[in-house]
């Protein structure tokens, strides 16, 4: 499916390292001779990813595997430590060096990529009326003039499924689901073509979650949007996505169209993850969870990061990082077992 689409985003070797500086106690201990260093987290480690126009790409993985960090780099709100990101073929972000694109193109790229967060309340200014929250950016960026602002804001409200007559209210006067709609109206108001949704329905009740997922589906159809949909909820990802990318400790371990991932996953981690998901169809079933804890990204296991939990690990897995290779058209997986065959 993705092969036929023109790429909107191309990520090549994208990495993000965070330095965890020692705290005061640590620095004092070090000055007294303790062997302590500033620690480095490889939050995202050499990710290659292409997203086609109009596609919904689901990004899944356990807590701390780097989903949000990757999403923020795509949205242009976090600089890269390595690699580059192209949007419509032009480099808009590059580690260390200057991007190809000029300032106007960069500004446009950033505006066209909007983010929707898990906690809408934290991302809405509490003392602003919601009409101003939604209307501020399009006014500043000259997308709409002051005289048309009112009707423009009404239109955004209606599109997000909100009654415009509520627009003089403040965020705290809305329910969780309504606040998420306000966040969506605000994002849509700058006319993006790409949304990064980071756990956008995670905090919502099931019945409200269904309403917001339907809204995302409607908007995709009506506005030709492309989504990077980050979620730890595999049921939600399966429902919404055309293609699914699975991350483990900063790396992409598998990528394929949704059908393939959920029916014929290749990577042992993907299969364990799918086995852990509770299903409403199951009855009094035996759970077969992945064993072991999520390793610390500060000190990831060498070789294949998954090897301490992998039921199929071979000696090579402890030493050598498996490359992400195409194992069938459009299906990539990073596992040494694929090379033995």
């Amino acid at each position: 499916m993705s092969a036929a689409r023109e790429p909107i985003f191309e990520l090549r070797g994208v990495s993000k390292r965070f330095e965890k500086r020692l705290d005061v106690a640590g620095r004092i201990a070090r000055s007294l001779g303790a062997k302590l260093r500033d620690e480095v987290v490889h939050a995202v480690d050499g990710v290659d990813l292409t997203i086609g126009r109009g596609e919904v790409v689901g990004l899944v993985g356990e807590s701390g595997c780097g989903k949000s960090t990757l999403g923020r780099m795509v949205a242009g709100i976090l600089p890269l430590s390595a690699g580059e990101i192209r949007r419509n073929g032009v480099v808009i972000a590059r580690a260390g060096g200057a991007p190809e694109a000029d300032a106007a193109v960069l500004r446009e790229a950033k505006l066209k990529t909007q983010m929707i967060f898990q906690d809408p309340y934290a991302s809405l200014t509490p003392r602003m009326r919601v009409a101003d929250i939604v209307g501020e950016a399009p006014l500043v960026h000259g997308i709409v003039g002051r005289s048309d602002l009112d009707s423009y804001v009404d239109e955004q409200f209606r599109r997000a499924g909100l009654d415009p007559s509520l627009k003089r209210r403040y965020p705290h006067q809305f329910s969780g689901g309504q606040r998420q709609r306000i966040g969506i109206a605000r994002a849509l108001a700058v006319q993006p073509d790409f949304l990064v949704c980071d756990e956008a329905v995670a905090a919502l009740d099931v019945s409200i979650q269904a309403q917001i997922l339907n809204l995302f589906l409607d908007l995709r159809r009506d506005l030709d949007l492309t989504y990077l949909f980050i979620s730890h909820d595999l049921g939600v990802v399966e429902h919404l996505s055309d293609r699914v990318v699975i991350m483990y400790l900063g790396r992409v371990v598998e990528e394929a169209d949704t059908e393939t991932v959920f029916r014929r996953a290749n990577h042992p981690y993907t299969r364990s993850l799918l086995d852990s998901v509770p299903r409403i169809e199951a009855r009094k079933r035996a759970f077969h969870p992945v064993r072991g804890e999520i390793p610390s990204p500060l000190n990831p296991p060498p070789g294949c990061h998954f090897h301490p939990r992998c039921p199929h690990a071979i000696p090579r897995c402890r030493e050598e990082r498996p490359a992400l290779r195409e194992i069938a058209p459009g299906h990539r997986s990073a596992c040494h077992l694929n090379e033995a065959a």
């Binding site: 356990e62 979650q209 409607d218 086995d275 509770p278 199951a282 009855r283 079933r285 035996a286 992945v290």
Partner: protein, 324 residues
Amino acid sequence: MSLTLEVRGLRTHFFTRAGVVKAVDDVSFSVARGRVLGLVGESGSGKSVTGFSIIGLVDPPGRIVSGEILFRGRDLTRLPEEEMRQLRGNRIAMIFQDPMMTLNPVLRIDTQMIETVLAHAKVSREEARARARDALGMVGIPSPEERLSAYPHQFSGGMRQRVAIAIALLHRPDLIIADEPTTALDVTIQGQILAEVQKLAAETGTSLIWITHDLSVVAGLADEIAVMYAGKVVEHGEVSAVLDSPLHPYTAGLIGSVPSRNARGARLKQIPGMTPSLLNLPPGCAFRSRCDRASPACEADPPMRELAPGRNARCIHPLLPAEA
């Protein structure tokens, strides 16, 4: 079948300045020995307040205004606080979404667990420590002996929750009330904990009330399901019966909202509108503004009725099995 717990007509209300919040309003259910009841509903439906009522931890301005909570035949609502304290942590234990509600951050795990053992059992410190170690082993904590001397902050979220569960298990309680204990955890860690809990319930005969908003968790874990909406249980029955052919329109709507119940990429069957505020809730079926089967008859409180053997719902126009 001997009942561990029987709740009859429980009403727990909060008397706030803005008005009365009927958080739990005429709730009845029972849990037999060794059975798992899944108490499901969306946020604010009264699940936690039901749990706190059973364990006697409702704080003012809330109080139990009527009803009975029979624990092995004794009505807990009439028990003096001292006797209730003796039951808590001993015969009845509660596990919370945030394990730090149970754990003390400044004490080592062994100190906390040994104290819990000694609070209700006359055994030596060595014996108490051995019980603590065994309990950690039972919930799947590797090298329990070494882990005993750690502090809570040295554990991951999933490990902390396991420790909290181990503490709940120390006295082999008759009843454990678990309030969204895996909601904040990764699915892989949730899967591990569900596997351990399922095994424990089967092995020890402990009855379990598992509170969650996640129908899929209940599907795999519970024997029975009670669905709460706006302070009331609206449907109750065996898991398979309820999930395969719900009788109450709200239950049907909830099941329909689960993405895997819908064709991929298709619009989900959503419930319109949102949950009503429990403050000064008008009489009648609280679901009627969202219900496509509502009629004027629904303006009177629908009673809980047994519509088929073992199948109860609080609805004037329930779905027929064929419609669900």
